[in-house]
């Protein structure tokens, strides 16, 4: 149990971070899942990775509660009547957030907070105070960057107040997404863009695409994961394509033998995790979110994640020169599309009895990577340092985004002079949505809050942590790892 002692003595962890790490250590001290040998081998090699979900799943990874229902019904378990004003509404939500499980124990989805709060806005300045305190409270207590609020697509008073407060607070939490559609007025979109260039959020989700797949009741949780409201995702496991390089004989062998084999193993492993969660852990029988119908087990799916497409493509083609590499060559991009098409086919062959929301299917997810990944690009992204011009980059993204309903996205960093021409960013955003980009994020080079791979961290927090000081936001550790291993601060700056 030296692990436990190390956690206890670690001075870079806050008290709360220690408690959570100790809980994780306890969970990982038992083995309850049936894992066959081949699967275990893939896990040991890092081909299959459950992304710190733990050995004994006792809560779904991503829970997307129906906060609308909560506000209209209150909660018996929490002893709360439906709120009557902005103070009660924000307070009620903050109470519920503390009780929404996840693998980090922090909620990954906070609701479409503008729509939730707009009906309570009477006096604008008073509401602003309430919203600002609400967001401040979230940043200081939900100390995890994977906590995500949604706004839009329509403009609301509450939406504008949320943007104004986010800009003023300049915190890394919560992450925010504006669901963007034709219904989003230009001036509201421009307010959002101005906010994103100051504080790296909100990001922009293609509402039309998501609502076609999920209906209107979807939320963006964690990094950029599209999931059904009133449900969520049981698990996220990822396949690291880059780790298949040593065993892939050639393109044919990779596509026709290796990939299908790993998919079948990973799908079965995911289902084994879900089986334990649903059938043995007792979550559904005991959790008040289920009892009060804030979530329903038949509104859950599961996310089949992947990383390292760029690396496997370049490997299979032995592409060294930039012109031949993924993101630059037509041949490479086409191979990328073939791999993802094949991946989708294989994943769809699997039928999970638990994923009722998605008719037994797992949804594809382009995973953003973990802090210890070295030379492995998130999802289908083009490696940092090799990014093409913006138009080509967006077109490239658009080939892949359609495959990933449960999340994929790209990030663009701008020189701070674009703040003089916000319509430029709006034009880019509109075009990106039109060509089928699912999710896009912007930030400006001079911003303290930076988008690491999907989540946000403050530069100043990472600097503190680097000198050995504990910081409130637990995700700063991940951010710092990604800065060192994946050079995320060196993302191409767009200047033209």
């Amino acid at each position: 149990m030296s692990d436990v002692k190390d956690i206890i003595k670690d001075t870079t962890l806050t008290y709360e971070q220690k408690v959570l790490a100790l809980a994780k250590a306890a969970e990982n001290s038992i083995n309850v899942l049936n894992i066959d040998e081949e699967t275990q081998k893939y896990r040991d090699e890092g081909v299959i990775c459950d992304l710190f979900e733990g050995n004994a799943p006792y809560r779904p990874r991503y829970i997307v509660p129906d906060y609308e229902r909560f506000l209209s019904k209150g909660s018996k378990f929490l002893g709360l009547e439906p709120p009557k004003n902005i103070w009660e509404a924000t307070n009620h939500l903050l109470i519920l957030y503390r009780h929404v499980p996840s693998i980090t124990s922090f909620p990954v989805y906070l609701g479409n907070i503008d729509y939730l709060l707009d009906r309570f806005i009477k006096d604008e300045e008073e509401s602003y105070q309430a919203i600002k305190l609400f967001l401040l409270h979230i940043d200081r207590t939900i100390t995890d960057s994977f906590c995500h609020a949604n706004i839009g697509p329509k403009a609301t008073k509450a939406g504008s107040l949320i943007l104004r407060a986010s800009k003023e607070l300049n915190t890394s939490i919560p992450n925010i997404t504006l669901k963007y559609s034709d219904e989003t007025p230009n001036d509201f979109a421009l307010e959002a863009i101005a906010t994103s260039l100051e504080t790296a959020k909100p990001s922009f989700a293609n509402h039309e695409m998501f609502s076609k797949e999920f209906g209107n009741d979807y939320g963006i949780a964690s990094c950029y994961n599209g999931l059904p409201i009133g449900g969520g995702s049981f698990t996220l496991v990822r396949m690291n394509l880059a780790k298949l390089r040593p065993i892939a004989k050639n393109t044919d062998d990779f596509l026709n033998n290796l990939l299908p084999h790993v998919v079948s193993k990973m799908a079965a492993y995911m289902d084994e995790r879900i089986r334990f969660l649903v059938e043995e852990s007792g979550f559904a029988e005991s959790n008040f979110l289920v009892k009060e119908e804030l979530i329903a087990m038949d509104r859950f799916t599961a996310m089949f994640g992947m990383v390292g497409l760029a690396e496997i493509v370049n490997h299979l083609l032995d592409a060294k020169e930039e012109a031949d590499r993924y993101g630059h060559s037509k041949t490479a991009d086409e191979l990328g599309i073939r791999i993802i098409t094949r991946l989708e086919e294989e994943v769809n062959k699997y039928n999970s009895p638990y994923c009722k929301f998605s008719n037994g299917k797992f949804l594809l997810h382009a995973q953003v990577g973990i802090d210890t990944d070295v030379n492995i690009s998130p999802g289908c992204r083009i490696p940092i340092g090799e990014e093409p011009e913006m138009l080509d980059h967006i077109m490239h993204s658009s080939y892949f985004h359609k495959f990933f309903p449960s999340g994929i996205g790209d990030i663009f960093r701008f020189d701070s002079t674009v703040k003089n021409n916000m319509n430029y960013v709006l034009d880019v955003l509109k075009g990106a949505m039109k060509v089928g980009m699912r999710y896009i994020s912007f930030y400006s080079s001079d911003s303290d809050v930076v988008r690491i791979t999907g989540y946000l961290v403050k530069r100043s927090d990472m600097e503190k942590l680097d000198t050995g000081e504990a910081v409130l936001n637990g995700s700063a550790v991940l951010g710092l790892g990604a800065v060192k291993n994946q050079h995320v601060l060196d993302r191409k700056e767009r200047k033209e």
Binding site: E389, M390, Y424, V425, L426, D427, G431, V435, E496
Partner: protein, 278 residues
Amino acid sequence: MSKGLINKILPFSSVDGPGNRTAIFMQGCNFNCLYCHNPETINNCHNCGLCIATCPKGCLLKQEGFVAWNKDQCIDCDNCLKSCKSCSSPKAIWMSIEEVMYKIENTKCFISGITISGGECMLQKEFVTELCEEVKALNLTTFIDSNGSVPFWGDDRLINAIDMVMLDVKAYDSEAHKMLTGKDNQIVLKNLDYLASINKLYEVRTVIVPEVLDNIRTVDMVSKRIAKLNANIRYKLIKYRPIGVRTQLINSYVPTNELMEELYDIAKANGCKNIVII
């Protein structure tokens, strides 16, 4: 349909007018400004072949007396531009309207419009007119970035095809203008009046160059003139920056923020309502 000699096309630009714009840089200029930051756009290539040997990728070749450029192999190192003694580029190519429109088709859902710049695009006025007509048919806006040396008046077809002009007024006094550019500025100032009178002047720009120009006089006179014409026209004061400049021709430096603020105050006191410093 006419062809245009084009130095390059930038699919996305955030600094050539409102919103995102595809910027088309025409080759060839009738000014020779001491501070020109893209001197490779000034002259047409006369096929001397000097640049050929400097290309690390072998993408320049002499074919039938002309220097040809293999775009696909080019890595944009710009060695060729640095080696050219004639302020030109082997990468400028003649393009038809269709060829340019094909590029714009690819960017059209991302842009507010196009900006034709240079060089001096008005030296290829027919091409500019036809291109703008085609682009307007796509419901995009057409902006012209010009040194003002070619009259805009008297050509209704051109004026109908363009939405707005961004005009350089480099110096107010004729002598100073000649010293800086090699040409007189009477037409420039007439264009200023004319374009403002028909509401097609988006912005006026002056580069502030310490020691070389009487910056205060130019800003004072130009801002008075703008204020009289239409105080809402943007007046952009641009800091001289020695990037890409032939520094053997000019001895100056980046102006201080104090100087820029002083100029800002002058323009403001003269009545300009929209002054930008960059």
